[in-house]
């Protein structure tokens, strides 16, 4: 059974007061997340990532399509007992302390008494909140609120955890902690679905990813499937040349870094040793040579440009058309 499954999930908004026009925030999203995966849901701002998460949490209702979590329909109370959710830029009740907030949420799951207290303490330890747990949330920094948010998402030992931009507002130490936490959750066999526009996190954490842009699913699959290991070229830095080498043929691009110093972007098919010999023959000195591989960023930028450039999906579109 898939942890999360969506079929043609779409969301239209009506924009404008006097003559509202439909604005399609999400075009028929179909994807599957298997149990135990760490799934990265990537895309630029405004791509529909938060819309998707809110649809899954039933904070908003879909215009079309269906989805299920743990095999159960959206909004199912039994299913909600087994999931956790951290919203983007979360806000919690600032008149409560961290302990009280977690206690309140734990109570909503039915935990009582000593069991509840133990659980709350454990989770606050796990996210790294010490004595601050007895302070009112209004005094918390953004990073501390984010930690509380993570704690409340995990209060019920969920099987599936939804995180919307979990790294937002965190300093590098905080992000390291969250990365560690996500890996721990994976090791515990839980499914983690998180949205982000920070690609390096996805590269380190995810088994599978999806890229959305302008409400469309542009690509999805494992990293190794999507990001080819093939070489795209060579980056060669030569110093001490009297003049710039001529671009053309194997030398795709020549850029001057400083007088006499150049970086050369060479075709992947070129033999690196030949190139270096040719370039240093005129008195140059090799500084560095690096193979260039396709990165996730390259893929990302390509997909986003494609979504923007083709303009197939911009503006109003009648409902019923699948992506």
């Amino acid at each position: 059974m898939a942890a999360i499954e969506t079929t043609g999930l779409a969301k239209d908004y009506r924009v404008g007061f006097w003559r509202p026009r439909p604005y399609r925030a999400l075009h028929g999203l179909t994807l599957t997340v298997e149990s135990g995966e760490v799934f990265g849901f990537l895309g630029p701002n405004g791509a529909g990532k938060t819309t998707t998460l809110k649809l899954l949490m039933q904070l908003i209702y879909p215009t079309a399509g269906t989805a299920s979590i743990l095999g159960r329909p959206l909004g199912d109370l039994e299913m909600k007992r087994r999931i956790g959710y951290l919203p983007e830029n979360p806000y919690f009740y600032d008149y409560l302390t961290a302990e009280e907030l977690l206690g309140y949420f734990a109570g909503l799951f039915g935990y009582k008494g000593a069991d509840r207290k133990v659980r709350v303490d454990r989770l606050l330890d796990e996210v790294g909140l010490g004595a601050e747990r007895r302070m009112q949330l209004r005094k918390f920094s953004k990073g501390m609120v984010q930690r509380v948010g993570l704690a409340q998402a995990l209060i019920n030992d969920p099987e599936v955890i939804f995180l919307d931009e979990p790294m937002s507002g965190l300093d590098p130490l905080g992000r390291k902690d969250v990365r560690g936490l996500i890996l721990r959750l994976r090791d515990q066999g839980r499914t983690v679905f998180f949205s982000s526009h920070i690609l390096s996190d996805a590269e380190t954490l995810c088994s599978r990813i999806a890229i959305v842009a302008k409400g469309n699913l542009m690509a999805s699959g494992t990293l190794s499937d999507l990001v080819t290991a093939q070489r795209n070229g060579w980056d060669i830095v030569i110093d001490g040349l009297a003049q710039a080498p001529a671009a053309g043929g194997a030398l795709r691009k020549v850029t001057s870094l400083a007088p006499g110093r150049f970086v050369i972007d060479a075709q992947p098919t070129a033999d690196p040793l030949d190139l270096v010999r040719a370039l240093t023959a005129g008195g140059g000195r090799l500084v560095s040579i690096n193979p260039v591989h396709d990165t996730l960023e390259d893929l990302f930028v390509r997909q986003v440009d494609q979504a923007a450039g083709t303009d197939r999906f911009g503006g109003a579109e009648p409902m019923g058309k699948s992506a």
Partner: protein, 274 residues
């Protein structure tokens, strides 16, 4: 299934609302101000040529009603609006609860708060009246229509509380589908109209048009009639307020609240939280 409602969940949400109100400085200020006004009525008595007990009771009951209305309307509207605006509702709704439970929980929480506030203000009034009654000569005390500390005051306070429960339900209902400002305006408007409800019935004597009369009569029955909850004048003049009257009026209030909460639940369950 969002139609199912579990009492423990509603109770937990209500308890959270109560906790929020206890820590709310604005609420404290309002109640404190009401208590000060009630105590100050002792001074006003000097101006009334022997009518001190009447003015203390009038002012006290009016203060309980007025400040209670402020709390019911403005905090009632904030209950749902603030959650949605600040988006604390996102994390809350992801927990195992239905939208219906959330609305009911908020309502019950505020009614609990109002009950405590009304009790506190009524206690302050009773204390002031007891102090005044003790300092006055017996021959003057004998001329009063009702004793200074009159159990009927509790009846007036109770019916005020029932009225405030209806007003809270109105406020929550409007706030589930409009902005806070509009919700406040509509709620205040409906509460004021509720005081004139009786006039609607009398219009048929003034207006000749049959259709208009029918419409006004229908409005009389549909709009909340809030005037019967006001027994302040009767209590001060020692006119009896019978248990039957209290029962019928409370029943009306309960039914109206049920209708409003049903609507509120409906609106709340169908909306998108952008």
């Amino acid at each position: 299934m969002s139609a199912m409602v579990s009492v423990p969940t509603v109770a937990r949400i209500a308890a959270n609302v109560f906790k929020e109100s206890v820590r709310d400085k604005v609420l404290y200020s309002i109640v404190l101000f009401a208590v000060i006004v009630i105590a100050a009525s002792l001074l006003l008595g000097q101006l009334t040529a022997g009518q001190e007990v009447k003015i203390i009771k009038d002012l006290g009951l009016a203060a309980i009603s007025l400040f209670g209305h402020f709390i019911a309307i403005f905090i009632g509207i904030g209950l749902v609006s603030k959650e949605v605006e600040r988006r604390s509702i996102y994390a809350l709704l992801a927990k195992p609860m239905s939208r219906a439970e959330l609305v009911l929980g908020k309502y019950c929480g505020l009614v609990s708060t109002l009950t405590v506030n009304v009790v506190v203000m009524t206690a302050a009034l009773v204390v002031v009246l007891a102090i005044y009654g003790a300092t006055v000569e017996p021959q003057i005390r004998n001329t009063w229509e009702a004793p200074a500390v009159d159990p009927a005051l509790a009846t007036a306070a109770f019916l005020t509380l029932v009225e405030l429960s209806v007003v809270t339900a109105i406020a929550i209902c409007f706030s589930t589908f409009t902005s806070p400002v509009l919700a406040a305006a509509f709620t205040v408007g409906l509460v004021i109209a509720g005081q004139f409800s009786a006039d609607l019935k009398n219009f048929e004597h003034i207006v000749d048009n049959h259709a208009a009369t029918w419409l006004l009569n229908a409005l009389y029955y549909v709009l909340p009639n809030l005037a019967p909850f006001d027994v302040k004048a009767q209590v001060v003049h020692a006119q009896p307020v019978t248990p039957t009257y209290v029962l019928l009026t409370t029943g009306y209030g309960a039914l109206y609240v049920s209708a409003l909460l049903a609507l509120a639940t409906l609106f709340f369950s169908r909306r998108d939280f952008k």
